[in-house]
Subunit: 421 residues, 2 copies
């Protein structure tokens, strides 16, 4: 078989310039989240196929890279369907593996547990510009904390990080699954229709109020319900006043404390935030995953024109592993999108290291070589980054290339002047 030079379809090789930004962002993420008390953890990239296909992953379950059974377990002749051939798959997110991890280790972890995960996930999506089949996710989650302190800390930590990367003017849109349900119930929709109603509502951004109304009527819902429903969105404002209006209007449909809790989150974040952004109560925010049970939130950034992160409360997932529900909230940032935005901006990593290069003449005798190595050692000890290279024929071009890489202090080392290097 011929060897292939390109990476596999939809995945990418990362060049040094991008890697420098990635490494810097990874370092900053770890440092920032640690300062909020989060601890790094890791799960294997390979997950049980049973867990990946357990309906926790929505559409992502259609995109799994599946791993062939090995040795005697693989019985090709007897295999009738795909499921007979595989026993694992590459994880498509970090939330499902975290739930398994917590179920497996909760007695070894503090309660509540604040987890930080950075790792690759894989989805066999149709390849398109800027979207890859392997990409890094960066999630923080608080497990075992039922109060909205969890939401407040997740939003503060995430936005503090974005601020440190010079992102401003972004918006955190927030809503609550319980608000979504209460508004649907209040308008007279039946519970069995909620999911369909929310799918249409989710298009508000793109098709507007009229478009949503038209689609709902097309789907056969009572005109009265649709109008009552949409009237809500016309009235409700995107601030704590909007939350209070919901509380009053949705009495009997909304759990007692839901509105107060959401108001508290918005007020607290506005008060304690470390970055320049705004919080918006958005009753049309749906977020696709069916596992969310309460608060949901998303980061919108004008320069990206879409979401660069999001999350929410999923109090029922860990219970699927343990039989006992555990409160859980998570916030995931779109690491790849953030890196892309930084690259587009021409972001320069704030690096404090000076770069020093030594060019060594061809056939330098031992004494000269040892002298250069010794000097390089001293330069590194003084905190510099040091490149030693053999001198090329085209020295001018070599020095230009080094300068491009940031090596402006270049020493040429010749055999005749070893003592003067």
């Amino acid at each position: 078989m011929a060897l292939k030079k390109k990476p596999v379809t939809g995945m990418k090789d990362i060049l040094p310039a991008e890697m420098e930004i990635r490494d810097y962002v990874i370092g900053l993420i770890k440092e920032t989240y640690r300062s909020f008390g989060f601890s790094s953890i890791e799960t294997p990239c390979v997950e049980h196929i049973e867990n990946l296909c357990s309906k926790q992953g929505g559409d992502n379950e259609k995109l799994i890279f599946k791993i062939l059974k090995r040795g005697e377990k693989l019985r090709l002749a007897e295999a009738k369907e795909e499921a007979d051939l595989v026993d694992g798959g590459l994880r498509y997110d970090l939330t499902l593996p975290l739930s398994r991890y917590y179920a497996n280790h909760s007695n070894e972890l503090p309660a509540p547990f604040k987890a930080l995960q950075m790792g690759s996930v894989w989805r066999a999506d149709r390849p398109q510009r800027g979207r890859y089949r392997q990409f890094m996710q960066c999630d923080i989650d608080i497990l075992g904390e039922p109060s909205n302190l969890a939401e407040i800390e997740l939003i503060l930590a995430t936005t503090s990080l974005l601020g440190k990367l010079d992102f401003n003017n972004f918006t955190i849109r927030i809503n609550d699954r319980r608000f979504l349900k209460a508004m649907a119930a209040y308008s007279g929709f039946e519970e069995k229709d909620y999911d369909s109603v929310f799918i249409t509502l989710d298009k508000m951004d793109k098709i507007g109020l009229d478009g949503v109304a038209a689609e709902m009527k097309e789907n056969g819902y009572a005109e009265e319900s649709v109008e009552k429903y949409l009237q809500l969105f016309k009235e409700i404002t995107g601030d704590v006043e909007g939350v209070r209006a919901c509380k009053e209007k949705l009495q009997g449909f909304l759990p007692e404390d839901a509105a107060d809790s959401l108001e508290m989150i918005i007020t607290s974040v506005e008060s304690a935030k470390e970055a320049d952004f705004r919080m918006l109560f958005d009753p049309t925010l749906v977020r696709g995953m069916s596992y969310y049970t309460g608060t949901i939130f998303e980061i919108s950034m004008d320069e990206f024109g879409g979401s660069v992160g999001g999350g929410g409360r999923y109090d029922k997932m860990i219970g699927k592993f343990t039989g006992q529900d555990t409160p859980a909230v998570g916030f995931s940032i779109g690491f790849e999108r953030i890196v892309m935005l930084l690259m587009e901006r021409g972001y320069k990593v704030p690096t404090s290291k000076e770069k020093k290069a030594f060019l060594i003449e061809k056939n330098m005798p031992k004494e000269g070589m040892l002298k250069v190595l010794d000097l390089a050692k001293k330069e590194r000890a003084a905190g510099r980054q040091v490149m030693i290279m053999n001198m090329k024929k085209n020295k001018k071009f070599q020095k230009e290339q080094l300068a491009e890489q940031g090596y402006t202090d270049i020493t040429e080392c010749y055999r005749d002047s070893v003592d003067n290097i």
Copy 2:
């Protein structure tokens, strides 16, 4: 299907205590190698099955986790053998993907190119204590540098890193494939038998000179050759004198510059090293991979009782992709073994962050909450790591747990004394 709490066979969940050490070591590795002029790069974890099965990986090719084709490409009914079902696999090392990467991107990279890779690799080995099916590898490679400056820098960078992690008293054993061949030729073995001879020689550590002699005779080699061969190992010393003796003895069998080059590497490293270790010329060092073409080396550490890293020159691999050979040398450290040794030692990450916790009384009103959030923000700005928690019923136990995590400065926040927090 029931959900599974344990990770997949042979792979592990990483708990916060280990993760703290891993994160620290990763940071130190990147910083150290960067100071020697290496640049981070990354390749996808999934590699073309054609590349993985191209006989570059030796026995590792038997251990590949293979990935099922997707969609229409998977034709289960027509599949006759495993190869019909798969189009990719998880990489088993970082050297093969690096060669593909360099072949794909050499015109975008400086020459020579100094690459740093840290990433997971997968091998479906029989699970055993301390060996996992997913593990981190950490490789530095210099591509496009034919001279021994590459070997010198790789060994200096790697040993400097180990020194920073307080490893001392280790040994770098060094040899050269060309020495191995010259010694076999000198002793009268035929070229077709070299591999078999080296397999036996590689057991010197375990079975000694007599064992090696016995096995070789058993394998049917002429007594005269075996004795001439083993006499060499009795005579040659593990220092530059040994290298010089080889040069003299193996004249006509060893390329002109091979011995001088090896002597230069040993002398330079001894002279410029930043850590406390010794270099040993070990003519019995074989290293398994058949792709090595020149220098080979390995780190031995008494406290581990085996190799914690190694590498060598592989000047022919990139040519398999491009049709044109490119000089290449790499040094891989056993990241997992190093972390294991540090854990066993009870290694404490040198962390400068103070840890501060706030415990909040139940039903704290808004003003109190905002006050605590504001204080936490100030503490973080002052460089501290801050944990905010709701106060538990068993406050004493909670504080003990926090103390265990390093939070010794704990402030209790009550509604009645908000102003005094």
